[in-house]
């Protein structure tokens, strides 16, 4: 009984922790939006923009990866 409740709480907690991923999704979307707009205006600097876009992806994604790591830790470690 108690073990089941703990298991259920773990699953719920992991699900709640994974909510944090949506902020990273918005961030990556905004980065891609800005990059595509900039590329549309000035196609000559596509290379530079792409490099910076991937860098922006990495920073925006980092927070959502933290949420994911917390969810995975709850599921598989505790």
């Amino acid at each position: 009984m108690e073990g089941d409740i703990v298991q259920a709480a773990k699953l719920i907690g992991a699900g709640l922790a994974a909510i944090g991923v949506f902020g990273g999704g918005i961030g990556v979307g905004l980065a891609a939006l800005g990059a595509t707009q900039a590329m549309g205006r000035n196609p000559d600097v596509t290379g530079t923009i792409q490099t910076n876009m991937i860098l922006g992806f990495a920073f925006a994604e980092a927070t959502s990866i933290y949420a994911l790591v917390v969810a995975l830790l709850i599921l598989f470690v505790f």
Binding site: T51, L55, F57, A62, Y66, L68, L72
Partner: protein, 326 residues
């Protein structure tokens, strides 16, 4: 001419190879149902060895993956060395790929870091190549799915069926029955990036070398970035603020280690879990798409790790902007 080419292409052999592989995929998915191996965060120990200086040392499955990646890197280096020694004017095939990558990375370094580009390139390119090969070990068939069987991970071992057959003198067990049963499989090789030891070690190397290169570029004045007492007495009000901001800079520097480590770890660990889950739910078609996605994630994470190292290092070599203004 154009039409002839198209018709010849239409009867090409590649499509039949793909069709045959798909049919084989169906047959094998029936015969050997894909498994979802035991998922756990720490690397599983495989066998202990005794090293001369270290003493007792447990070889984990991620260490084996790292050694495989190292071997691939050495082979690449050997091929390039042989091609260069032979005096090839134009590198082709695998050596050409390595040359193109090295060239692209080097020009990126030159354009970002200027005269420190050469110093930074050594660290950055090493990290990119190592992380790339390590991430791509995930794509080798058998990684994460062939392993030793450990019944401790299963809750009800009596529900499982085991088919034992022999390949030569090697005894092979295929696990069947409940989906739970495959959790007992501890893979021999697990992608090294799914072990925090690997990613945090790389992050430590990157951040530490950032400090070393900063000191080499700016001398002792590099540390005023973290302990800014320059304006503390000349302009007390702003000096205190500057001092506190520089302390924050020191905290940011140590957080970089975590952010580096967890980014790579999270991406690849989540990817390998996705591969297990998709593989055990939909064994045909879908996993090929996920494998392609993981291939892409492997490249992106390697480039991001290297690019961030490059940018942090080139920021460390540049002095404070406001100092030059004063």
């Amino acid at each position: 001419m154009e039409a002839e080419k198209t018709s010849r292409w239409r009867w090409g052999v590649n499509r039949w190879i793909v069709l045959g592989l798909i049919i084989l995929n169906f047959i094998f998915a029936r015969q050997f149902p894909p498994i979802a191996p035991n998922v756990q965060l720490p690397a599983e120990p495989i066998f202990p060895i005794t090293l001369p200086l270290v003493g007792e040392f447990v070889v984990t499955n991620t260490i084996i993956a790292t050694l495989i990646a190292d071997l691939v890197l050495f082979l690449l280096a050997f091929f390039v060395w042989r091609a260069v020694r032979r005096g090839d004017q134009i590198l082709t095939g695998i050596t050409g790929t390595v040359e193109a990558m090295t060239d692209a990375l080097f020009s990126l370094n030159e354009s970002t870091a200027g005269k420190w580009g050469k110093t930074i390139f050594v660290w950055m390119a090493t990290i990119v190549f190592l992380v790339l090969i390590v991430n791509w070990t995930e794509l080798i068939p058998g990684v994460d799915s062939i392993g030793a069987f450990n019944a401790e991970h299963i809750e009800n071992p009596e529900d499982c069926t085991f088919d034992t057959f022999r390949i030569g003198s090697l005894e092979v067990v295929s696990v069947g029955g409940e989906p739970e049963c495959s959790k007992g499989v501890v893979p021999f090789v697990r992608v090294a990036s799914t072990d925090l030891n690997f990613t945090i070690a790389l992050a430590l190397i990157a951040v530490f070398m950032t400090q070393v290169i900063g000191v080499r570029a700016l001398g002792a004045s590099y540390f005023t970035k973290f302990f800014n007492t320059k304006t503390l007495f000349t302009a007390p009000m702003f000096g205190v603020i500057n001092f506190l901001v520089s302390l924050l800079e020191a905290i940011l520097e140590s957080v970089k280690i975590l952010s580096f480590g967890f980014r790579l770890f999270g991406n690849i660990f989540a990817g390998s879990i996705l591969l297990f889950v998709v593989g055990s739910l939909v064994p045909v078609f879908l996993q090929s798409g996920v494998l392609l996605f993981e291939w892409f994630v492997g490249i992106i994470q390697a480039i991001v790790f290297g690019l961030l190292t490059l940018i942090f290092m080139s920021l460390a070599t540049a002095g404070h902007g406001d100092e030059e203004e004063n």
